[in-house]
C-alpha cells in the first residue's frame, strides 16, 4: 500500500473526521484513494482524532481541573472529544483561539451531547458549567470591570456581574470525591442546587452562593426594569409573595448583590 496515499488518507481522516463517516458508508471511496478499506480501523482513527482535539483543549485545564479529572476518571474524554471533533468537522467549524471562546464552544456542544441518564455525564455537565462560570467572572472576564455604581434607581438591580446555574449536584462535593484515592462517582449525591456566581465590582474573582428556589428566580428576573410590584406579580402576586420578594431583596442587598430602590431600603 502506497505510503504517500496512506498517510494522505490517515491525515485527512484525523483533520476532517466527517470523511470517516463517508468512508464507513461507502468503503469504495477508500479503495479509490488507494487504501484497502478492510485494513483501516476507522473507529480507532475516529478516536485518535478525539485525542488530538482533547490535546488542543489542554489550555482549558487550568480553569477546569475538576471537569478534566472527572472525564479522565469516568474514561469519557476520548469518546466525548471524538464526538466533538466529528460535530465541528461536519459543520466545518474552526477551533477558537482563546481559552474562553474554546470553552464556550465546548459547552454549547455538551448541552446537546450530555445524556442526563448517565451519572458521570450529568456530573460533568454540572461541574463544567460551575468551573466555566467561575472562570468567566475571573480570569476570562473580557469586559473592563465597571466602575462601582451604587446609585439608587426606581427598580432593584444587580450590583456587579451575576451568572446563575441550576445544577443537579454540588460540584464542591464532587471535588472532594475526585481527589480521593478511589473516586466513587455513585456516592456524589444528586440534589438540585441553585447557584449564584457573583463578581462584585470591587472584586477580581467570583463568589459562589447557594440559593433557595425563590432567591434563584428572583435574581434571574432582576433586570433593572422590573419594579418590586412587577417582580411580585411574576412570582404569583399577593401579600405573601410581596413579603417574600421584599425579604429576599433585602437579604441580597445586605450581601451587596442587589441595589434597592430607596422606598424598599427605608422599610
Amino acid at each position: 500500500m502506497n505510503l504517500h496515499r496512506l498517510h494522505a488518507v490517515l491525515a485527512a481522516g484525523v483533520e476532517q473526521p466527517q470523511l470517516l463517516e463517508q468512508w464507513d458508508r461507502q468503503p469504495g471511496l477508500l479503495s479509490q484513494l488507494g487504501v484497502d478499506p478492510s485494513g483501516l480501523d476507522l473507529a480507532a482513527l475516529r478516536k485518535f482524532a478525539g485525542l488530538t482535539v482533547k490535546v488542543r483543549h489542554n489550555p482549558l485545564r487550568e480553569q477546569m481541573p475538576l471537569s478534566f479529572r472527572l472525564m479522565s476518571i469516568a474514561s469519557i474524554e476520548i469518546d466525548m472529544f471524538a464526538d466533538y471533533a466529528m460535530f465541528r468537522s461536519k459543520r466545518q467549524l474552526r477551533y477558537a483561539t482563546s481559552a474562553a471562546a474554546r470553552a464556550g464552544d465546548l459547552l454549547d456542544f455538551l448541552a446537546d451531547w450530555i445524556d442526563p441518564a448517565k451519572r458521570e455525564q450529568l456530573l460533568l455537565w454540572d461541574v463544567i458549567r460551575y468551573e466555566d462560570a467561575i472562570a468567566r467572572l475571573g480570569p476570562w472576564l473580557e469586559q473592563t470591570p465597571e466602575a462601582v455604581d451604587n446609585s439608587v434607581t426606581a427598580c432593584p438591580r444587580l450590583r456587579g456581574t451575576v451568572l446563575l446555574h441550576e445544577l443537579q449536584s454540588d460540584p464542591r462535593a464532587l471535588a472532594d470525591m475526585l481527589y480521593t484515592s478511589a473516586p466513587d462517582l455513585s456516592r456524589v449525591p444528586l440534589q438540585p442546587q441553585h447557584l449564584c456566581f457573583w463578581r462584585a465590582p470591587e472584586s477580581d474573582q467570583a463568589a459562589v452562593l447557594t440559593l433557595d428556589e425563590l432567591g434563584f428566580y428572583l435574581l434571574s428576573m432582576l433586570d433593572g426594569q422590573r419594579s418590586v410590584s412587577a417582580l411580585t406579580q411574576c412570582l404569583g402576586g399577593g401579600r405573601d409573595a410581596r413579603n417574600a420578594v421584599s425579604r429576599g431583596l433585602r437579604a441580597f442587598s445586605k450581601l451587596g448583590i442587589v441595589i434597592l430602590p430607596d422606598r424598599i431600603r427605608r422599610h
Binding site: M1, N2, L3, H4, R5, L6, H7, A8, V9, L10, A11, A12, V14, E15, L19, L33, V35, D36, G39, L40, D41, A44, L45, K47, F48, L51, T52, V55, R56, N58, R61, E62, P65, F68, S72, S75, I76, E77, I78, D79, A82
Partner: protein, 283 residues
C-alpha cells in the same frame, strides 16, 4: 545563560516545559538539571527562551515530520536550526512520526498538504524506513552538527500496509541512519498494549545501546485503547521498564513529561522525580 553539558557518567533529570514544570522549578530550583522545550512553543512564545538564564534547556520538536512524505518548509528547518544554535542544545529530539501529508485530492494541484496538530504513527514498512533516511538527509543539511534523536511513536491501531512491528521498525531506522534514540517508555508501553505484545519481552528488541534520552509520562486506557496522557502520572510498569533499560544502558537525559495540566499535583511530581533519581543513582 546555562547550557546542558552531557556527562557520560550521569543521567541528568529534567521536566518537559509546561506550567507544572515552571511551578516545580520555582519551588525546587536545585531539583532539576534541565527543562525540555518544544520548538513549537519557542516559535509561538520566543520569550520562553529567557528561562535559560535559570536552567539549561534541551530542544524538542514535532515539526520535522521525519517519517512523513511532505517535507517541512526550508523556513521551518532554518528556524529549528537557529533555535538549536541559540540554545546550544546537545541534540534535537524529534518524533519518528509525521505531522503533514499530501492532500487527499491528487487532481487539485493547488491543494495544500494536510497539516496535523499532533504527530501520527507512520506506516511501519521498508518504504517508511527509506523515507525516514531521505528526510533525515534533508534535515541534516539545515541542522548542521546538532544531532537528532528519534522518539518512538505510540501506536494506537494497526497501520495499513505495515510489514513489521514497531520495535523492528525502530531497529531498522537505527540501522540505516546515524540518529540515536529517544526512548519514550510510555509510548512504548502504549504500543505494546495496543498491539498485544508483552512489554517486558519487547523492550529487549529495541536497540537500547542507541538510547540517549528517555521520556516518561502517563498512560490512560479508554474506549478499548491505551492513550498517551501527560496529565496523568506514569503507571508502575513504566518504572519497571525504566529499571530494565537502565540495567542495559546509561542514557544522558531523562525527561518526565507531566506537562498537559497546569494543576498536575506537585507532590506526585516531586515523588516521581525522587523515585526516578533513586533508580538512576542505583543503576
Amino acid at each position: 545563560m546555562k547550557y546542558f553539558e552531557p556527562d557520560s557518567a550521569k543521567t541528568q533529570l529534567g521536566l518537559a516545559y509546561g506550567p507544572s514544570a515552571l511551578t516545580y522549578l520555582e519551588n525546587h530550583p536545585e531539583g532539576l538539571d534541565y527543562i525540555e522545550v518544544p520548538f513549537e512553543q519557542l516559535r509561538h512564545t520566543p520569550e520562553v527562551a529567557s528561562m535559560q538564564k535559570l536552567i539549561p534547556m534541551i530542544l524538542h520538536c514535532a515539526s520535522v515530520s521525519v517519517a512523513g512524505t511532505v517535507s517541512p518548509t526550508p523556513a521551518t528547518l532554518q528556524a529549528i536550526a537557529q533555535a538549536a544554535e541559540h540554545m546550544r542544545t546537545p541534540w534535537i529530539g524529534e518524533h519518528l512520526a509525521f505531522v503533514s501529508a499530501e492532500p487527499l485530492d491528487r487532481g487539485d494541484k493547488d491543494a495544500a498538504p494536510t497539516s496535523l496538530t499532533y504527530t501520527m504513527c507512520p506506516q511501519l514498512s521498508e518504504a517508511a524506513v527509506d523515507q525516514v533516511v531521505r528526510n533525515l538527509a534533508v534535515a541534516r543539511t539545515y541542522l548542521g552538527s546538532t544531532p537528532l534523536l528519534l522518539e518512538n511513536s505510540p501506536q494506537y491501531f494497526a497501520i495499513p500496509g505495515s510489514t513489521m512491528p514497531m520495535s523492528e521498525f525502530i531497529a531498522a531506522v537505527m540501522a540505516q541512519c546515524d540518529a540515536n534514540l529517544l526512548l519514550d517508555l510510555s509510548h512504548f508501553l502504549i504500543t505494546c498494549i495496543n498491539t498485544g505484545v508483552n512489554p517486558r519481552d519487547e523492550i529487549h528488541k529495541i536497540p537500547l545501546h542507541r538510547v540517549v534520552e528517555i521520556h516518561m509520562s502517563g498512560v490512560s486506557q479508554q474506549s478499548g485503547i491505551a492513550w498517551d496522557d501527560h496529565a496523568a502520572p506514569a503507571p508502575p510498569i513504566v518504572f519497571e521498564l525504566l529499571e530494565q533499560v537502565l540495567a542495559k544502558v546509561r542514557p544522558q537525559a531523562l525527561t518526565v513529561e507531566y506537562n498537559w495540566s497546569a494543576t498536575f499535583p506537585q507532590p506526585i511530581l516531586h515523588q516521581h522525580l525522587q523515585r526516578v533519581r533513586t533508580l538512576l543513582e542505583a543503576a
